[in-house]
Symmetry: C3
Subunit: 354 residues, 3 copies
């Protein structure tokens, strides 16, 4: 049902976006139209990717999810980069990390926990992901921040490029580890979840999924480019800083569809899937989308270094430490969710006033 | 026996405090009198609360402990706030966190470990508390520090109020989780510690406990107000900074009675109780006493933001990480205690010279 | 075979070092000669210590390893201290911590993981070490950094001396814990590794080992003193900063032999030994070599405070957090190794450009 709603919103939203942008409707109204349309299109892209992933088998499917999973964010960010809005891009990636780690996981734990006293998820997977979170956020993001403090712009960019390449290589190595060399090695023997996977049926066939993916991606690109153009006016109208627009607004728009499906999974007690969406998506943004954007930025007039502001960095570092502590035991409940949500609200308050 | 000593000290100390303050005895002597009296009164308040808690049953008892457990610190801090000594209040709360986490837990582990090779405590409880420690200290205290750096005083206070409200709400949620929705859920089935609890007998009856609690609280308020007045002279006399008085002296005076009972519990191999006193008290200070003081400070001339100095903040953050690492396996020994004590001494040296 | 190579290199390297330094050969060539000679001598010292340790039994053997294990680094550092190169000494100790934690453990996990799907090591030992790593690096190194920011040099040195003494005392306490009070307490009962130890045969007899240890140590001292003299010219020639020479070059030279044996152990699936070399050596540098050097520096013209630069400190802190997260489950694979190596490369890039 929610899927149908998103499909309808997408089909209606795209033409309205086109008409509104041609007729130059008020920026604030168009900002809302664009946001809703992107949420709907992101849901459609997600379902098309999912369908393709099922058709293509687990390995290529995993790879598809791992590369297209955050396609919408990548596209919005590319247009923001093109417009020279470096700080909004970094802010929206920060927001994506915080949103996935704290908001999505928090809502999933909380909503799932209202129905079930205790929910459990794969503790090996959680620890594997925890190592990667520390690597990406605490090593790869903190090091350039501290080292480039007294450095000129050229060396800062050189370091950023080097670290970006290492992040991408390690992300590919993680896929190799997960889908090839250690596939199933860390899974509990008594949970034959291969069987469960066989039951999955794709929503769309291969051809239809590819066509939908293609069209929706072009539509997202169009709407994103115009969305980016409204930031300045919207920021002035509501008194929102660039940081707040990036960290909270763009991040929620870019991830809303994904968020919804994680919470639904938690409510169905499929915590492994919910956690995979939340943490997997965080890692994908940190280890794939962000470094790709740093490298892509080299072809634009303003290149983007891998250097966050202190508030962004500290929010991510503390968010990662909190999430690791709460997920370390492979067990969740409503209170764990409440803690994550409270942390998200605290950071939201901070970014609003900064 | 120790109880009798404290009772005697309390009964003798209060009149001496009154006489000394009226006759204006030397500030240094009165500082010592006040400190000893408060330690004694804190012990009496603790026993009255304990007795009431047993009489009222586990839920209301837990609530009583959770609100009156740090009543003495709350009272001293209110008088310090009234006197505008914002930085001493923040320092004494820092000291309370460090004292409970490092000194109390350290002494408990060490003394208990001298008698027993290995002592164990509830690992689920330890992890639950670890999550809250990271939330309170690493998220809720670090975020305002970093975000308010370039902010004006009004926004800083607004953020402080917002975070304080969230801390109190989450503290209440934690009580709901512990005493209502998940009571006993995470407890080992083979440890029937309900039986143990039934054996407990209150030291005092309901009426006597309430009367004692009432009188001792008023006495603490009186002595605290005068204690706060001696800080300036004492600091000058001994060459102690405000930070050192707050972090080390006030924190030890306010918690001494509690410290003693934790160590005694550890020596009796009741590590669950010892850890609960140390970590539970830390959480209570961080998530209840401190935010209440921030909100209360709004009615005083100088309001208190939730912004620590860097040395205070870093001490708490590193102390929390150390404690979490050492308690994560639900197992303690003398060496774990030595590590915590060494960390406390290092921080004490730091605060002495700063 | 590798042992014979190192013996030959040592026997050839020392006279070439002497001749080259007398004939004043080019500093860059001599830098390389000195480095190779020290690597060879370090291997010889390591084997002599190992032989003595086996002859003397586990307690004194453990103590020998714990004090002579980083003798070469200690000697190089003493000559650098004498030459007033404080920042190179701190940098090389940073490099030693990073090299042992990230490079050695990373290579061991990676190389071992190429041969075995999963390798396991003692999880109790790993957690015990994790507590010490947090204590040493995150408490004892971070606290002086933050506290001495606004402090004069004298107070900074006083704090440094105090913390150094506490570090040494806790290091001795850790030995007492490991070899006396809790020997074997945390070991799995089903792994009778006492038997394995009995099979070990020393390479050299007691007398020969002592003579070799004596001669090699004198040779290392001689070569180290001359190596330190080449740093300035080498730095200018290659455009390397003092930080880079210390963190990367000196650290690798001082630890190369040790590194090699850890990787060989990992390849033989003796992960407990490999992890012990990596983490044990880190702890020895942080809790014994460094504080000894701080105290020794008092007899030299320039005394060395326990205050790292921010990049050094943050590298160590993040490295420690990463290592703890990855080793917390007592299980390693090639990917864990790749993560550690990637972190080392990122830090190496940072120190190169700084």
């Amino acid at each position: 049902m929610m899927n149908k709603l998103f499909t309808a919103l997408g089909i209606v939203g795209v033409p309205i976006s086109v008409i509104g942008s041609i007729l130059q409707w008020s920026a604030v109204i168009m900002f809302i139209v664009y946001c809703v349309t992107i949420v709907a299109l992101a849901s459609i892209i997600g379902r098309a990717t999912e369908s393709l992933a099922i058709v293509m088998g687990p390995r290529i499917g995993g790879l598809l999810n791992a590369t297209f999973g955050n396609a919408v964010e990548l596209i919005i960010s590319i247009f923001a980069l093109k417009a020279g809005l470096i700080s909004i891009v970094l802010a929206s990636l920060t927001g994506s990390v915080l949103g996935n780690l704290l908001l999505v996981a928090g809502l999933s734990f909380f909503v799932g926990g209202l129905k079930y006293k205790r929910q459990s998820f794969d503790v090996h997977e959680a620890r594997h992901n925890a190592g990667l979170l520390i690597f990406a956020v605490i090593v790869a993001f903190v090091i350039p921040e501290v080292f480039t403090h007294t450095m000129n712009d050229r060396d800062t960019m050189t370091i950023s490029i080097g670290i970006s390449i290492i992040l991408i290589l390690l992300y590919l190595a993680a896929l190799l580890f997960k889908f090839v060399t250690h596939r199933g090695i860390y899974q509990d023997q008594d949970k034959p979840n291969e069987k469960k996977k066989k039951e999955e049926k794709p929503e769309w066939g291969k051809i239809k999924a590819i066509v939908v993916l293609f069209i929706a991606t072009i539509a997202v690109a169009y709407v994103s480019e115009h969305l980016v153009g409204t930031f300045e006016v919207v920021g002035e109208t509501f008194g929102w800083s660039e940081l707040f627009i990036g960290v909270i607004i763009v991040a929620i728009v870019g991830n809303a569809a994904e968020h919804a499906s994680a919470v639904i999974m938690a409510y169905k007690n499929k915590m492994d899937v919910a956690v995979e969406i939340a943490v997997g998506s965080t890692l994908q943004v940190a280890m794939f989308v962000l470094p790709i954007l740093v490298l892509l930025s080299l072809i634009f007039p303003t290149s983007m270094p891998l250097v966050f502001t202190w508030p962004e960095l500290i929010s991510m570092v503390t968010g990662v430490l909190l999430m690791i502590m709460l997920s370390n035991d492979g067990d969740s409940n409503w209170f764990d969710g409440a803690v994550l949500l409270a942390a998200y609200v605290i950071m939201g308050i901070g970014f609003y006033f900064i």
